[in-house]
Amino acid sequence: MVTQHIPMASTAASEPTVDWDALAARARAVRRTKAVVLYAFLIAVSVPIILPYFWLVTIAFSAKTGVAETAVLWRSMAVFVPAVVAFWLTAALAQSRRQLWIGIAAVAAIAVFAFVLSVGPDLHLGNFIFLWEPDFASVVRSRVGEIKGAVQFPNVWHAFGNSILIAGAQTAIVVTVASLAAYYLSRFQFPGRSSMLRSLLVLHAFPVLTLIVPMFLMLYWIGLLDTLYGVILVLVAFELPFAIFIMKGFFDAVPWDIEMSALTDGASRRQAFVSVVLPQVRNGILAIAVFTFIRGWEEYIFVFTFLIRNSNWTMSLYMYWVRDDVMGVDYGVVSAVGVFYLVPSLILYMAAQRYLMQMSIGGVKG
């Protein structure tokens, strides 16, 4: 059947003998070097990120008024770094689940002990005074403290509630509206579909932050200036293009068969969307929900511009205000507020991290 001349069979015999041991040694070396280089690189680039956060937490729990104690940072790092390395080694060397847990428990116990021993006496919760003492500035700064109620910080919980409200409402609206629009863009043929998608990108080119004055005027005309609703709606509009883009990618990836079978089973496309397609894009919804929430949680410039009264203060304004320097910065309290401000983001982020990694700009492969 196949009668061509085949070069490979003939040349194969003349191949030089292979030094397999040398190859194996080289492979071993390459593999090791690669692992070392990779980990070294990743550790090196990650330290600059971890360190400031660690510093923040350290200061929040240790600093005395006005003076950041750097020694505490380095001493706790001296415990923290070996502990992390030990955890890593335990995880890598453990042969069984039981060994792993025992190892981790042992390392944790030693680390806690060392931590208490080295920095324990320096730790205190005093910087978190703002949580239970709304007039904390008066307490912290004794001179002003002679007249209570003089400093007008809004209650942190009030700001906290406002931020939760803004971020939460914004997330709910963005997720709903973006899912609807993205589904339609992904799955329906309609005139102007292409230009609609293009305008999403064009919208992203609008410098929202420089349009604050027109937005200010518009919010005033529709009566939403100095209300949380105004800020929420502006933020929603701002986040929508990105959320639609991402959600469209997720919808693109849903197999058509699923939807087709729903249609043949008697569902309308709207019903198919709700009952069959939406559950398929759960990860996408989680991802944009997290990003949108964080966006609302951190918003600073809009709330600063559109919320005129401090009954509408958010955590970002609170944070920015606390670190204001007119009366002297108290690093301890600022850090404590920072930690308090960071915690909700972190919790959300830890819970959703694996979904965030599945974000793709779908549509085409290759």
């Binding site: 003089a150 007008q152 200036l225 007119v326």
Partner: protein, 457 residues
């Protein structure tokens, strides 16, 4: 005293007249009417009693109204703005007034008042001030210019302070200056004998001969203090004849030259404007800098509580002190700057009379003293000087000496913008991006292209 009685009698008469008029008009006598007055205040820990005193004043005014038999009662609602500084706050408030959502009363930095006046947002007060001498009659006459626009008075000074060069006597002595020289510096500055360049020279000695790292430090953001230097070198920024902004290239260059020399001599750090406010203070109060150009309130709010400087007058002056802004050359005039915050009333408030009376009570000597002694600001009335609390706060009494030579920022509606340009130029000089000449050019160029009616000489 007699004065006071006549006032009271007049008030009583007026109240009676008002009361009977109301009665005659057949309005139910005891139906109270609550007048809600909105007060716009920047959320500001450096002066929490500025709005606080207005709230307290409402109680007094209401008692007074009750005594008069007036059915009206005042209620103050504070609108606190989250703006970062007085400039941001003023711009925000202008917008809010622009859309007709303005408050009845507001607190502002004095140099902004004419911006409100130009757009007709603020009430002219001259008549009221004469009408209520019991409230406003004793306010230091020197403070009133800060509340004036070309055609009249539009605000009521709320406080005053003094800006100066603090200095570390210990460091100066370490650098080889004898105690007598060091202690005489305030006197010499006031008499015009100490010059701006001598300050740089002393600072240089300190940097060279002691462990201290810095010579002169100043605030790291836009603000009034460094304008002192420009005033020392003769820039007043406003043409007294026309009230328009005035930029004089030579005088600007001379002032910028001082900064340039300071940086060149490594006395002013090149990164002064990049440092955190608190870091700067820390450098000075922990003995790492010779001079700190700032205001008197820093003692009460930071130096004593945070860095533990001696609160006893004698102990303080043993190692620390301050001088007025020195003269540009020997025999010239020294300067100091005060930057009053003012109360003002919206032009469209429904109850201007009540608003004025409210502010009158808020300006009462005892309330103002509360503000003064808790935040180390200077009072506005001579009565306050007799208050034992005020007397106890020796930095205030001491700083009041400087008021004799004090200057203000010009009350020009565009000065806030100009100040921003000047600050940028200082940053440009210190970070080595501009020379003194270039900085002057920059200020003139920027100001002429973005501001209106700028006279350049």
């Amino acid at each position: 005293m007699i004065h006071w009685k006549i006032g009271t009698a007049a008030l009583l008469c007026a109240a009676l007249a008002g009361g009977s008029a109301a009665f005659l008009a057949a309005t139910p006598l005891f139906a109270q009417e609550t007048v809600k007055l909105e007060l716009w205040s920047r959320q500001d820990p450096s002066g929490p009693l500025r709005p606080g005193n207005v709230i307290k004043a409402a109680e007094r005014l209401n008692k007074e109204l009750e005594a008069e038999g007036s059915p009206k009662r005042v209620e103050v609602a504070v609108r606190e703005s989250p703006a970062k500084g007085f400039d941001d706050d003023a711009l925000q408030l202008l917008k809010v007034f622009g859309i007709g959502e303005g408050p009845d009363i507001f607190i502002a930095a004095h140099e902004w008042i004419c911006a409100f006046q130009e757009d007709g947002f603020v009430l002219k007060l001259d008549d009221y001030i004469t009408k209520y001498p019991q409230h406003f009659g004793t306010i230091f006459p020197t403070l009133w210019p800060s509340a004036k626009c070309p055609d009249g008075t539009y605000a009521i000074p709320q406080d005053a302070e003094a800006r100066m060069f603090f200095y570390n006597k210990k460091l100066l002595r370490e650098a080889g200056y004898d105690a007598a020289f060091v202690d005489a510096m305030p006197e010499r500055a006031l008499s015009g004998d100490l010059t701006m360049d001598e300050v740089l020279e002393i600072a240089k000695q300190v940097v060279d001969k002691t462990k201290a790292q810095y010579g002169v430090l100043h605030r790291p953001n836009k603000g009034p203090d460094y304008i002192m230097v420009f005033q020392a070198y003769g820039s007043d920024f406003v043409d007294p004849a026309t009230g328009k902004l005035l930029l004089e290239r030579d005088k600007l260059t001379a002032a910028f030259g001082w900064f340039e020399r300071g940086v060149k001599e490594r006395v002013i750090p090149a990164n002064n404007t990049a440092m955190e406010f608190d870091a700067l203070r820390k450098e000075f109060y922990t003995g790492n800098a010779a001079f700190w150009m700032y205001g008197i309130w820093d003692l009460g709010s930071v130096a004593f509580p945070t860095y533990g400087l001696p609160q006893d007058e004698k102990a303080f002056f043993a190692d620390w002190g301050w001088i007025a802004g020195p003269a540009p050359q020997k025999g010239g005039s020294p300067v100091t700057l005060t930057h009053p915050i003012v109360y003002a009333i919206a032009a469209d408030t429904k109850e201007p009379e009540l608003a004025v009376r409210l502010l009158g009570h808020a300006s009462a000597a005892d309330l103002n003293t509360d503000h003064a002694v808790t935040t180390t600001h200077l009072g506005i009335k001579p009565e306050q000087l007799e208050d034992p609390r005020y007397a106890k706060a020796w930095p205030l009494a001491k700083a009041t000496e400087l008021l004799k030579i004090t200057k203000f920022l010009p009350n020009n509606s565009q000065f806030g913008d100009l100040n921003g340009i000047i600050y940028a130029a200082i940053q440009g000089i210190e970070s080595g991006r501009l020379t003194a000449e270039k900085a002057a050019d920059f200020v003139i160029e920027e100001a002429s292209s973005t501001l209106e009616d700028v006279t350049v000489k």
